[in-house]
Symmetry: C2
Subunit: 217 residues, 2 copies
């Protein structure tokens, strides 16, 4: 049974992982006979957003503790996972990728990446193992792999595309129900909620991404 | 386009709605051409559980605010939804059904039900519209409908079955990938994570439940 890492970044689209994208990833992995290895960094969230009114709150929450809600408690600290332990890695999207796994939301092309996140992604690529990234997460991949001319999609958002290209990434426009594959680096990406419009379209792209990650693993 | 209410109870299996069950419900509704109308009560959670270590914490969280994470902000207060507005109603499971929508986890057959939750469920049944309930939620239905001999499944958990039968419900053992239909009351139930073992089996039962709710609506 193949083991595929699923790197979570909290629990909720505005301050953590996009929940639908994460659950659809877990479901597709199970349906394709793979074991999901959920992981997240043990760090404080950048902030907590009230998802009812969209406003930041004064609360403090921890990324692995909130991610554990999606993993039903079965989750590892990302720093304890090595590339040798898994056959592929998938980063669902959501603001958590740009606020917790990195500070891309604040610093764009100058973003800092959580060192444990950067290490597992880089180690996977160096080991020629596939990495899938959903929604905004491909931008984080580009920053981590800026010396490797990564080829990704985040849909068609002009501002993010510009930043990706400034970093040295190559952006390919892609429909929500499709994936883009960077054969050289074994990167598989899909726009998901960067494009929407709804959960069934997002699911189509993610299901193709999971199948491709398994195929290349 | 049919509108199906999805009654959430927080965000996380140990203190709110079971996230996988909720997302699979939303996905199946969209794939079957129905519109999901997410709703939750605007009340404080019974408690907050750290899902990494399983321990209750000192935090306070609100049920509709946390549920909004799963609904991506598109959620109504359950007290503002009337049976006339929707064609069916689904209650995913998770501890939130037994701790926030009711106090079934504490009081069993003597459980109190949140009055707005009891009203929407009762109004749906009185209007001959279908109600689906997943995992532990069928026990809550039984308490709300104790005068109607509701026939449900929660899988095969002996303690919960005993309580359901003491309330006046009729329990039918059911596999995780199957549903039970109470034709008289138009109740559709599936065991989901009351049985497990994993997300793909849970999804099979929930997909059948969603199709049945739409068929009876």
């Amino acid at each position: 049974m193949k083991k595929i890492g699923v790197l979570l970044s909290g629990c909720g689209v505005y301050d953590g992982v996009e929940i639908h994208e994460a659950v659809i990833t877990l479901l597709a992995l199970d349906r394709n006979g793979a074991e999901a290895v959920c992981m997240a960094p043990d760090i404080e969230q950048h902030h907590v957003v009230n998802h009812l009114n969209g406003e930041p709150s004064e609360e403090k929450r921890n990324v692995i503790v909130e991610s554990a809600r999606i993993a039903r408690g079965n989750i590892k600290n990302v720093k304890d996972v090595n590339a040798i332990d898994i056959d592929g890695l998938i980063l669902p999207g959501g603001s958590g990728a740009a606020k917790n796994l990195s500070n891309f939301a604040l610093k764009g092309k100058e973003a800092d990446i959580n060192p444990d996140v950067a290490k597992i992604v880089r180690d996977m690529v160096d080991a020629n193992k596939p990495v899938g990234a959903i929604c905004i997460s491909p931008a984080i991949l580009c920053k981590i792999l800026e010396d490797k001319n990564p080829e990704v999609t985040i849909g068609n958002d002009f501002g993010t595309i510009e930043t990706i290209e400034e970093i040295g990434g190559i952006h390919v426009v892609c429909a929500v129900d499709q994936i883009h594959v960077d054969q050289a680096n074994k990167l598989i990406t899909t726009p998901a909620y960067m494009l929407g419009p709804g959960i069934k379209e997002v699911a189509k792209g993610i299901e193709k991404l999971v199948e491709a990650v398994l195929k290349y693993s």
